[in-house]
């Protein structure tokens, strides 16, 4: 059944919704990357929570006008208006008072959400049964989505992606170095406004899929996940888009076979799974890689210190050092160097002498940064450079 859903075999509607969710995920991942890099992730949370009163009021208004309260474009328009008001409140509070942005976000988020819940409750008592769709905006529910909803998702995602593509340079500049961006003539105010506009669009069209409580996760988790795999902004954007897309796709597919489950939490959990894998297993910044590197590095430091001690005829005190060196056949159990140990020791000392010359010479600045007390200098310098360095060793201290 889930296999069918993943392979888009569950019928026309479910297929459309799944593809729409994937596109939303891509758009959220890409837009969220710049929000994350600009360190304004939580503003996204304020925007999403501020949509709720708008959804409720739009419903009331549409019913009062004699229409169908559940008409999605109307509800989303209401959400967008109230989210924009919420965003303006955050910016107004931050600028006009001494409140930090975090405090302003906390205040706006909770007040708008509380107000929204009150309205939803009133709606419930007012027109019992009719508001059935509205709580789907809290946690997302793709089950009842229509073809037109899916098309709205796809179009919005395409618009967001096109905007980010066009504005990638100012967005990157504003995130990395806002002062420089301003000084070179990009208006920071306008860049931030456009960025928040993009986030607002993603949030509003994502309401039905992920829900307002969890949309911030779809904005941020992909970017944080992508950061583990690369050191380049462009690559973070692409990987985040992919992570968001996979989350949306798989989440909606699972939700299609289990309609009782809200879609939002599933989408977010899929994204979290990808995050977890990255956190643990990514090669550069992952936890396991760091642990392994630290472990290896520690052993190499012990070995090196032991060899240098040997070369200078000093005793080795640390048990770990002795154990490691004994295991490598460099010393006997009583701490006396073997023949191999003596050779390795004099090589280590020569290496250290060469390194100290290189580090003292600014013309080797690039090579000098690779000094970690362990890397053999032959790995860093060319044979010619090495001969040059050796020519400067005045009194070889090789034992």
């Amino acid at each position: 059944m889930l296999g069918d859903a993943l392979l888009l075999q569950l019928g026309y509607n479910a297929t459309l919704v799944t593809v729409g969710a994937a596109l939303l995920g891509v758009a959220a991942g890409v837009a969220g990357t710049f929000l994350f890099l600009r360190k304004r992730a939580l503003v996204g949370d304020a925007i999403s929570h501020a949509t709720l009163p708008g959804v409720g009021l739009a419903f009331v208004l549409m019913v009062a006008l004699g229409g169908d309260g559940r008409w999605l474009p109307g509800l989303l328009l209401g959400a967008a208006v109230s989210a924009a008001i919420g965003l303006l409140c955050v910016q107004g509070l931050t600028r006009a008072t001494r409140l930090g942005e975090d405090a302003a976000i906390g205040a706006v988020l909770s007040v708008f959400f509380g107000f929204g819940i009150v309205i939803l409750t009133v709606v419930q008592t007012m027109t019992a049964g009719q508001q059935a769709g509205l709580e789907g905006f809290l946690l997302g529910s793709t089950a009842g989505m229509l073809r037109s909803d899916a098309i709205l998702l796809a179009v919005s995602a395409a618009v967001v992606l096109a905007l980010v593509l066009v504005l990638r340079r100012p967005l990157e500049l504003a995130a990395f170095d806002p002062g420089y961006a301003e000084a070179t003539g990009w208006s920071l105010g306008r860049i931030d406004l456009v960025m928040m506009g993009i986030v607002l669009v993603v949030t509003v069209v994502g309401l039905k899929v992920v829900g307002l409580i969890l949309i911030v996760a779809l904005l941020i988790v992909p970017a944080v996940t992508a950061r583990f795999w690369t050191d380049r902004t462009g690559h973070v954007v692409i990987i985040a888009g992919a992570v968001g897309g996979v989350s949306g796709y798989v989440g909606a597919a699972i939700s299609a076979v289990a309609p009782a489950l809200p879609t939002g939490p599933i989408v977010v959990l899929v994204g979290f799974l990808l995050f977890l894998v990255s956190l643990l297993f990514s090669p550069g910044r992952g936890v396991l890689a760091s642990l392994l590197m630290h472990h290896r590095y520690q052993r190499r430091v012990h070995m090196r210190q032991g060899l240098l001690a040997l070369a200078q005829g000093q005793p080795i005190f640390e048990a770990l050092t002795r154990r490691l060196m004994h295991r490598a056949g460099l010393i006997l159990p009583d701490g006396v160097a073997t023949q191999a140990g003596q050779a390795a020791a004099s090589k280590a000392l020569l290496d250290e002498t060469r390194w100290s010359l290189v580090r003292a010479d600014t013309s080797f600045a690039a090579a000098a940064t690779r000094y970690d007390g362990l890397t053999p200098i032959e790995d860093v310098l060319t044979p010619d450079q090495l001969r040059d360095v050796d020519g400067r060793i005045t009194a070889p201290k090789v034992v």
Binding site: L37, K39, V166, L167, R169, P170, E172, L173, A175, F176, D177, G179, Y180, E182, A183, T184, G185, W186, R227, T230, D231, R232, T233, H235, V236, T362, A365, A366, T369
Partner: protein, 270 residues
């Protein structure tokens, strides 16, 4: 402010000051910036001399960085005007390159050295212009001038403080501007970097560019700079180092906090 600084203003003097302002690569008039109710800088007049290296010095909290940022419209002033070669700043952005304080950015940002330098060309590239080999060559050339070509593809977080500062300078060099405005370019850098940066700045001046830098090391002011601005919320004195960098002016700028040990009397004209 001492009474000596107040003298009769003649029409000719006004006309001459106006002419200097129009010719100046960066002139600010009556610039005031305030955070809350206390002014960080108050009614600052400053006419930077073309083709010279000018230092802005003053105690902590004197408003040195604020003056630079307000002059470049990075922060909005309460009052005052800024002109670049006599034109409004907005029309002359391309002529100015800004080097912010190193500590103002997150160095764990996912970007490489060459990418940061290419940011100096973003204005020229526009929104969609492709980065072509000539742009890459310009960026590598800028890195070469600060001795950082070997680091082009490193992640910026792997750099030392001095290397980070050189990358920031390279980004400004890539802009190929007429005026270079630097905020504490020597703060927390190693001696080799300080030598490299001052060599680049002097080279800029010798090829007709103008350099304006916030500087914190009084001892090197006479060696490095042609002009100096002593700032403590207001301009205490401004002009050629030989005329302005005097014990009296420094006392006025720094108040009692300046001990004579901080200034080498030999290097101070007066």
């Amino acid at each position: 402010m001492s009474l000596q600084n107040i003298h009769l203003v003649t029409d000719e003097a006004v006309a001459q000051a106006e002419a200097e302002r129009t010719a100046s690569p960066l002139a600010v008039r009556n610039l005031t910036v305030s955070y809350g109710q206390t002014p960080a800088i108050f009614s600052v007049d400053l006419t930077v001399r073309a083709g010279a290296m000018t230092a802005i010095v003053g105690p902590n909290g004197a408003g040195k960085s604020t003056l630079l940022k307000a002059a470049l419209d990075v922060i909005k002033p309460l009052a005052g005007t800024v002109t670049v070669f006599g034109e409004p700043l907005a029309a002359m952005r391309d002529r100015i390159a800004y080097v912010p304080q190193r500590a103002s950015v997150d160095w764990d940002f996912p970007t490489r050295v060459i990418d940061v330098v290419l940011m100096g060309l973003y204005r020229q590239l526009g929104l969609l212009g492709r980065v072509r080999s000539k742009h890459r060559a310009a960026a590598m050339g800028a890195l070469d001038r600060v001795g950082m070509t070997d680091f082009a593809t490193r992640q910026i977080g792997q750099l030392s403080g001095g290397q980070q500062q050189r990358v920031f300078l390279a980004r400004a060099l890539a802009q190929d501007a007429d005026v270079y405005v630097l905020d504490e370019p020597f703060a927390g850098v190693d001696a080799a970097t300080e030598r490299a940066i001052i060599a680049v700045l002097k080279d800029l001046r010798d090829t007709g560019r103008t350099v304006l830098a916030v500087h914190h090391d009084l001892a090197t002011v006479p060696d490095y700079f042609d002009d100096v601005v002593l700032l403590n919320t207001q301009v205490i004195a401004a002009g050629p180092v030989d005329d302005v960098f005097t014990e009296d002016n420094l006392q006025a700028a720094y108040g009692g906090r300046l001990t004579t040990a901080r200034v080498d009397p030999e290097s101070v004209a007066g």
